[in-house]
């Protein structure tokens, strides 16, 4: 993206904007009435018993909250960009923690037991999730290359099969595909285990999406590259392998990375087949002791951490190709 070299005044530093913002923020806090929350308790020296503070309490709480909020924005706005990003990240993270804290959870629960529940989640659940995702991603990529070539070919059979495939597997909910494969294939006489059917469903579904990504990536290479290759007497496969695919990789990587991240999370859907992956274990363990939310939150954090790792890897790969280009 192009960042203009002429910097406008920050809107936060314009009095009119600041005033307008303050009023809007105050109105928000006032409308949603935070007197009954932890903020009301903090301000009880001023407003007395929050429950009985009435309009005065509501006004004070909203006023203090909006002052803190706007002051926070203003202070952050004077720091450098990287520090701004860091502070906002940390603040949002703490807000998220506060949200989770408000569930009144028994967090020690996930660390007790022998082996501890969190260790069970990581050693068995996380391992299974990564295993299923990694195998599915590899198969989906292979499907996508073949599918993209088929969709670009002049062969009627290849095109028809590929377009029917992408239409079907992009058109059905993934959960339905998982059931269809697990319960449908045995009807044909193929006994298929839960993990292979989960992998098959994820591969086929994401292979369909990635077929379209690969096709678009290949098509985005200028026609002149094909013409120059043909004029040198190169055959189709050689052109694709040596000229077109290497050039489309930088175009394909970002959306493919998104697909990988989406697939990692969608692998939770195979829990319906009773596969001991993260989601299934979180539900199973938590339900036993009625500590559902603790385990679900643990799973949520593990998924999040995993996707952050994938995002970092994706950014690295993107940077590598940008340098080369």
């Amino acid at each position: 993206m192009f960042v203009d070299t002429v910097i406008e005044d920050k809107s936060l530093h314009k009095p009119a904007f600041l005033l307008g913002l303050s009023i809007a923020v105050f109105a928000f806090f006032f409308a949603f009435n935070f007197t009954d929350t932890i903020f009301g308790e903090f301000l009880s020296p001023v407003i007395g018993n929050p429950q009985e503070s009435g309009f005065f309490g509501r006004f004070v709480v909203s006023f203090v909250l909006s002052i803190i909020f706007v002051l926070n924005l203003l202070l952050i706005s004077f720091t450098r960009l990287k520090i701004q990003i860091l502070i906002v990240w940390i603040e949002l993270f703490f807000l998220f923690l506060a949200f989770a804290y408000s569930f009144d959870l028994e967090l020690a629960y996930i660390f007790i037991g022998e082996p501890s529940k969190i260790w069970l989640m990581i050693s068995k659940g996380l391992f299974t999730t990564i295993y299923i995702s990694a195998v599915s991603i590899a198969i989906a990529t292979a499907i996508a290359i073949v599918g993209a070539i088929a969709k670009l070919s002049n062969n009627g059979f290849a095109y028809a099969i590929a377009s029917f495939y992408t239409s079907l597997f992009r058109g059905l909910p993934l959960l339905l595909q998982i059931y269809l494969i697990y319960m449908g294939l045995p009807q044909l006489g193929f006994m298929i285990d839960a993990i292979p059917s989960g992998i098959a469903a994820l591969s086929l579904c994401y292979g369909a999406y990635m077929t379209e990504i690969f096709r678009a990536g290949i098509q985005s290479i200028p026609k002149g590259q094909w013409e120059a290759s043909r004029a040198l007497g190169f055959k189709f496969g050689l052109i694709l392998r040596k000229i077109i695919l290497p050039q489309s990789i930088p175009i394909i990587v970002p959306p493919t990375g998104n697909q990988f991240i989406a697939m990692l999370k969608d692998s939770s859907l195979v829990s319906v087949l009773g596969i001991w992956e993260l989601m299934f274990m979180a539900k199973k363990i938590g339900a036993k002791d009625f500590n559902n939310l603790e385990m679900l939150l643990t799973a949520a954090m593990i998924y999040w951490a995993l996707t952050i790792v994938l995002e970092v890897i994706q950014a690295r790969i993107e940077r590598k190709y940008q340098q080369k280009a």
Partner: protein, 255 residues
């Protein structure tokens, strides 16, 4: 190639021959009954207003475009839809494009080695030797390890010429090779082409560079509306144009 006495021309085995070639884009006829013979070592310049079918014509010669009527023969091989050995024909026809069409992910050297190494079956060392020699011929051996987008337009076009020459073609096709260049880069590309012409290469050039045409062409072909209106030696073409369309065109282009 079988020819009866009446169709015999001065050369019995032209390198390229077109007989009654026509081509349509939908309802629009881009080429109308083209008859042409090009002999080994001949230098042909094709000119004409835009949309006259010049580019279409030379793109038919290595079948980047398909013609619908008539026959095109290159080295005695007829080009048609179901031919098996089009790649073998193409390897003998070098082509230089208006937009260079270098491979941006390969270095200049790799661009030049690709053809010989991948399809001529020449080993890497030999292909590299040949590529370096050709880059010397177009006077940019020092750019060998750069990527195309690090080069100026004129340099890129010279690399494109070197890349084609590495295949040791029998004939070189130039499709408006200087049209996409900044004015100050035109002459370096034309100089390269003049040298190539002097070395005896068969060349077919679509270009508006009339100075170049005058200097190297054995024959100038003037096209308009998909037809060959006039063909002649440069002297006759410039000093004694036959048709009105040629006269108008020359008046416009020579100012």
């Amino acid at each position: 190639m079988i020819m009866n006495a009446s169709t015999k021309t001065k050369n019995e085995n032209p390198l390229i021959s077109l007989r009654g070639v026509s081509k349509w884009y939908g309802g629009f006829q881009a080429l109308k009954d083209i008859n042409l013979e090009i002999n080994l070592k001949e230098k042909i310049v094709i000119c004409g207003p835009s949309g006259s079918g010049k580019s279409t014509l030379i793109r038919c010669l290595n079948r980047l475009e398909a013609h619908q009527e008539g026959k095109i023969h290159v080295s005695g091989v007829e080009l048609h839809e179901t031919m098996k050995d089009i790649d073998i024909v193409r390897r003998d026809i070098g082509m230089v494009f208006q937009n260079f069409n270098l491979f941006p992910h390969l270095t200049v050297l790799e661009n030049c080695m690709a053809g010989p190494n991948w399809v001529r079956g020449i080993d890497k060392d030999e292909a590299e030797k040949r590529a370096v020699a050709m880059l010397k011929q177009v006077k940019i051996p020092e750019q060998a390890d750069k990527y195309p987008d690090q080069l100026s337009g004129g340099q890129q076009q010279r690399v494109a010429i070197a890349r084609s020459l590495c295949m040791q073609p029998k004939v070189m096709l130039f499709d408006e090779p200087t049209s996409a260049l900044d004015p100050e880069m035109v002459s370096e590309v034309l100089d390269t082409m003049v040298e190539l012409a002097n070395s005896g290469m068969t060349m077919i050039c679509v270009t508006h560079e009339m100075g170049f045409a005058r200097q190297v062409a054995d024959r100038i072909i003037f096209m308009a509306d998909g037809e060959i209106v006039e063909q002649n030696t440069p002297d006759e073409f410039f000093n004694n144009p036959q048709s009105d369309r040629t006269k108008t065109f020359l008046n416009q282009i020579l100012i």
